[in-house]
Symmetry: C2
Subunit: 407 residues, 2 copies
Amino acid sequence: MLQVMTPDEVLSLIDGQFHPLNIQERVSLYDAVGRVLAEDVCAGEYVPDFDRSTVDGYAVRASDTFGCSDAIPAILPVSAEVLMGQAADFTLSPFECCAVPTGGAVPGGADACVMIEYTEDYGDGTVGILKPAAPGQNMIFRGDDVYPGKPVLSAGRLLSSQDVGALAAMGITEVSVSKRLSVGVISTGDELVPPEDKPSAGQVRDVNAPMLCAMLKAYGAEVRSFGIVRDDERLLGEVVRRAAEGCDLVLISGGSSVGVKDASCRIIESMGTLLLHGIAMKPGKPTIMGKTGSGKPLVGLPGHPVAAYFVTKLFVLPLLARLEGRIAERYTVTARLTESVGANHGRAQYGCVRLERRADGLWAHPIRSKSGLITSLAGADGFFCIDRDCEGLPGGAAVEITVCSGD
Amino acid sequence: MLQVMTPDEVLSLIDGQFHPLNIQERVSLYDAVGRVLAEDVCAGEYVPDFDRSTVDGYAVRASDTFGCSDAIPAILPVSAEVLMGQAADFTLSPFECCAVPTGGAVPGGADACVMIEYTEDYGDGTVGILKPAAPGQNMIFRGDDVYPGKPVLSAGRLLSSQDVGALAAMGITEVSVSKRLSVGVISTGDELVPPEDKPSAGQVRDVNAPMLCAMLKAYGAEVRSFGIVRDDERLLGEVVRRAAEGCDLVLISGGSSVGVKDASCRIIESMGTLLLHGIAMKPGKPTIMGKTGSGKPLVGLPGHPVAAYFVTKLFVLPLLARLEGRIAERYTVTARLTESVGANHGRAQYGCVRLERRADGLWAHPIRSKSGLITSLAGADGFFCIDRDCEGLPGGAAVEITVCSGD
């Protein structure tokens, strides 16, 4: 008989039992944001590929300007003008200067640019430089940004828009990313009707399927819905097997009553190995996890929507990240509790909050609810955890909030 | 002549000059995550619609169990069994009990449920209750979750997956959301070539267009790309006008040299009103903003990719939020600087960081770069701001980081 595990033990179990699938595909730069990079990316060329001015003004040899001032300008003939987008395929002679725009190419020989504001145009083909320039001033040199072989992005990164910019700068218009994972979602329970239907007495709408679909979609996975299966072990087994054939991970939602939970355990055992039977958390205890003979993960989620929500956030999404090799840290924000929260059951306790910004910082209003009251989560901005050893937190206590608005 | 504005002044300008478009569309529950709710949502019915047990066990009248114990159980005949998904359309008589599963309907008359673990089945149609139940124990009552008219979600909310769950619970399978905004992106500059092309001497790849497309896509807007327009005021004016006809907002990226910036200003003035000419920030100063005669926003972004990135994050996305009525708070995480960062130019200074979790908390490594070095942003986890009045921050100083990985 498997023991109930702590949340940390479950995360270790996931790391130990499951491994990256390493299924890649090539996507265009324009489709790359939000995808998981499947290869290390190094620069293949110099960026920029030529010395550039960062100001509108004149390229000079810095030494030609040493000692100049408003009173005694360095007077230099303008030997050329580089236009935007044009090469500067000549060398600046000593005691000459060359007009350049912001971003324009700086000719060989020049090692600094002087802002137009610090020059005077005498109208006779010469300008006066009113302020000495230091070597390198107002310039970006060839390869300052990157040079061939410089590591830029690491495999496992969730690509952000600035990463896309960097890829564009290097001329990398296609990258290898992890294939989107496909997740099968099965709801079980004789009491469930689809959200579209009006429940009869004793029935409730299936909340978990649409919620899980939204979570998985927001995460970046593809969802295959297998509908609502009634509490029939043979039938449920068939659907789980079918889902496991076509998907990378199967979620069996509901069936939290003892009999159905046992049926889900037996189905998982018949397909491979049961790895987990209960998590020491509240809500979320009646969670099971296993894998098929070929190593494909199967997860039985609690039927209570709030419990299913936390188990999915805390374990199913990290399991997906493990499978696709995604390295993603979830950061928390610190807030103070507006009121005390009790806890005394020896299990890690998760609760949702609404956040409020006040003059003295961020405050978290705990949302009180009985397990299963999904609308209590509606409008939540984030959640926090009270450790199993903690008997509760007083009002004003600082807590770490995982923000979940919009995902 | 317009004065340079501080970042806060620009945000006030946006609020004052632009207003929600109020263009809505109906979407299915299954497409609602990540969309902006355009209506207040109230419950239309009771959830749950019947009294439910939260445990596997027996429904009782609590008063019939008062005073019972392991030693002296309350012995009650089992008058009925409610199955999952079935109605409990009878009333429990005094001194009787009724078997119910977790989530099952509780008959009238009963006001508590006793977990099966605290009962003993005598096998003769009676059970012993070993522990007294308080009224309401282990039950969710009709309407505990929501009742008709209860406000659940407010207009402007970015719908999260738990919101989707709440909508499903209430049988709301379609909602009104703000239509996705359409943003036109125009790149200008004779030096620009598409990322696919190899730049000749003096040319660089257009980094801003793909980066802006990624940012806008991650935000939830639709992007229309108008390609690269060379530095020609008449031509640029034509493209800006065309973009303004078909899009909700137009971004003109680049043209940071004096002449082109002036051309953008003249184009905006010819189409309506120039509202902003320069922001007191670094990088990002050469930003302009205006609106057409019909009130459509036009933004001229700096050509430097890093500057364009910050201006888009800090002002363009809030402008989009204003147009679609999105209420979205960006939370920050607190981290300590691994090294000192200087600043002394009287402008708000933005810089990117890599975050590292250490035993003693979160640390931020400042990424040092010259303006325009986009690959310096690659791999960044977030950014922070040094106020204009601050001359720099020492190593170890706590800073507020806006996390930007994955978006």
